[in-house]
């Protein structure tokens, strides 16, 4: 492979990885937007999404096979199930806390994360579960750059979901309400907007996106595991902040940037895979020092 090929291939890698980060980061950012909560349980919803997708696929693969049709159906059902789980979590664990100090909800979120993780740990006894999707390794060769069909479909689905979300948020009644709630909850209440409903929808969508990512990850990488949400949760949080937390395009951008940083961090001489996370976090800190609200975050209001 020439240097050019390597760069191109790493761009493809960064794009795939970044798509996963972005999908998870979107939920983070949306939920942060409406209730100013860093939802640490979000990565675990991704994990649960992976398991639900696995269960659905196991049930239907006899009819649909383990190919993309089956995965697409699993993903869809997993999105619905985990979306509802997200709403239930919000109702049970976060909603009663909305008037509590902000950091208290953070602890609730951490507790929810522990509950989800350890429930799945108990059920699976910590075992890795092979996902059972049945994909070929086929793809297209562009010079020495190899792109699998799976990668294309994956990025396509991610892009579709993100564009769908953007349309939803900018064009629909609920989307507008969501943005309004993000700006001023109390005012929305006065204006007769069903704030609770908006929050529920936000959790539904955010969790569903995480579930989509979880199912896709399970299918694409081949296995699911009770702890799989931890690292990506952390990374998605990072991505959301790089992009500007609360900003939906920011989350997408942040996800892609983090994907590229990791891909190229691995490749860069003097950094290498051992230091790639240090590199990513150092870039993150620098971004925030020079652009304190993230790349696309709204700058703080004028003081006073």
């Amino acid at each position: 492979m020439t240097a050019f090929d390597v760069v191109m291939q790493q761009i493809v890698n960064g794009l795939v990885l970044g798509s996963f980060y972005a999908l998870v980061a979107l939920g983070y950012t949306m939920i942060f937007g409406v209730i100013k909560l860093l939802n640490f349980a979000h990565g675990d919803l991704y994990m649960v999404g992976g398991f639900v997708g696995f269960l659905v696929l196991s049930a239907i693969s006899g009819i649909t096979g383990g190919g993309w049709t089956g995965v697409a159906i699993s993903m869809f059902l997993s999105m619905i199930a985990v979306g509802c789980l997200g709403v239930v979590i919000e109702r049970v664990a976060y909603h009663p806390m909305l008037r509590a100090p902000r950091l208290s909800i953070l602890i609730t979120a951490l507790a929810v994360s522990l509950v989800l993780q350890n429930t799945v740990l108990s059920i699976t006894h910590g075992q890795y579960t092979a996902f059972g999707a049945d994909f070929g390794f086929g793809g297209v060769n562009l010079g020495n750059v190899f792109i699998t069909y799976n990668q294309m479909i994956l990025v396509g689905i991610a892009a579709f979901l993100m564009i769908g979300l953007e349309v939803f948020v900018s064009r629909t009644q609920y989307g507008r309400a969501m943005r309004a709630v993000a700006i001023d909850k109390d005012m929305c209440q006065l204006m007769g907007i069903n704030v609770s409903g908006v929050i529920a929808v936000t959790f539904l969508i955010g969790s569903a996106l995480a579930a989509a990512a979880g199912t896709l990850a399970g299918a694409y990488y081949g296995s699911v595991w009770y702890f799989m949400g931890f690292l990506i949760g952390l990374k998605a949080f990072t991505a959301a902040v790089i992009g500007g937390i609360g900003s939906i395009p920011g989350a997408m951008l942040g996800g892609l940037i983090l994907g590229f940083l990791e891909a190229f961090g691995t490749q860069l001489p003097g950094i290498g895979s051992e230091w790639k996370d240090v590199f990513s976090f150092a870039v993150l800190i620098l971004v925030l020092v020079f652009k304190p609200t993230g790349l696309l975050g709204k700058s703080e209001q004028e003081r006073m």
């Binding site: 100090p101 208290s104 953070l106 609730t108 522990l114 350890n118 051992e274 993150l284």
Partner: protein, 323 residues
């Protein structure tokens, strides 16, 4: 205690309980007496976990200054714990320093780390600060994992037990008493800081940055002071942690560790010293009490946490201090 002689200014860091100075002394003496005799009554296991809980008291009180007083969300507190522990490890093992010679360097290293990371970032909004501190914590852990001098992933082992004025600190009970002393110092220091000019400045800045600035308080400097003092608590805890275990490795300084300390602080009630101590004990003793549940113990513990937060959203310790 000037502030109580005429019962005027409420003592900070306590909440409405224990405002009566006499009651406070009674409670303090009772707790102290319990701590002194505990290893004699209970077995070695209890001594070990109480030691662990006391270490957490030190760490939590340190983080409480950052989060509870100054209102800075820190998700990478384990970094300072690591800086203290690794400074001791590296200096005693690689350079042959005596523990007590290495100790001031551990504190100094934490101060430096606090200034380097806090200096440019403390003006960030809370949520952004959270991720910066998280990133910093991970950078420290990854560096410890990758560098030769810190023993890479295996860490550093064979750290000698220190001796103090001829007293060789060695057994679990010895360390227990060391941590009792450290925890008491941490409590007194927290208490005095909370009721000082600087302690009030933290509250002013947390409640209203602009008004505080208008009163002539340099908020960046005041926040940095909180951050650095918190770092010192962490490093002191880390230094003795390293001596106690005799071996340190990156696993001890993970994101989960930072999260646990933060949980303890918020669970007990941020900004309220007895609450924070209570939180530290719950976070350490809770999972220990549930050991018989095997793989379910964290699950049950997490459900318990959830219930506590739902019933006492501002933390267990009563009172409104700590928003």
């Amino acid at each position: 205690m000037t502030s109580n002689s005429n019962g005027a200014v409420p003592t900070h860091g306590l909440g409405p309980f224990l405002q009566d100075a006499r009651l406070r002394w009674v409670v303090a003496i009772a707790i102290l007496a319990f701590l002194v005799v505990a290893p004699m009554i209970f077995g070695s296991y209890i001594t070990v976990i109480l030691t662990n809980a006391l270490l957490y008291v030190v760490l939590c009180l340190g983080l409480n200054i950052v989060v509870g007083y100054a209102g800075l969300l820190d998700l990478g507190y384990a970094a300072f714990f690591a800086v203290g522990a690794y400074t001791i490890g590296v200096l005693t093992i690689q350079f042959g320093f005596n523990f007590w010679v290495a100790f001031p360097f551990a504190v100094l290293a934490a101060v430096l780390a606090g200034v380097i990371i806090g200096g440019p970032t403390l003006r960030l909004r809370s949520d952004y600060l959270a991720i910066v501190t998280l990133g910093f914590g991970e950078i420290v852990r990854f560096s410890a994992r990758n560098l030769e001098i810190t023993g890479r992933a295996s860490g550093i082992s064979g750290i000698q037990d220190p001796s103090l004025f001829g007293w060789q600190i060695r057994t679990q009970t010895d360390y227990y008493y060391v941590f009792v002393v450290l925890a008491i110092i941490a409590v007194i220091a927290s208490f005095r800081l909370a009721n000082s000019r600087l302690g009030r400045a933290w509250l002013y800045v947390r409640h209203d940055e602009d008004a505080a600035e208008a009163m002539g308080i340099n908020r960046v400097q005041v926040k940095l002071a909180a951050y650095v003092i918190g770092a010192i608590f962490g490093a002191v805890g880390g230094a003795f942690f390293a001596a106690n275990l005799g071996a340190i490795s990156p696993e001890s300084f993970s994101f989960e560790q930072s999260v646990l300390v933060l949980m303890a602080v918020i669970l007990g009630g941020m900004g309220k010293i007895p609450g924070v101590i209570l939180g530290a004990f719950i976070i350490i003793l809770g999972p220990e009490l549930l050991r018989d549940l095997g793989e379910f113990r964290l699950l049950v513990f997490a459900v318990g946490l959830l219930l506590i937060m739902l019933f006492r959203p501002s933390g267990i310790w009563p009172g409104r201090r700590g928003a």
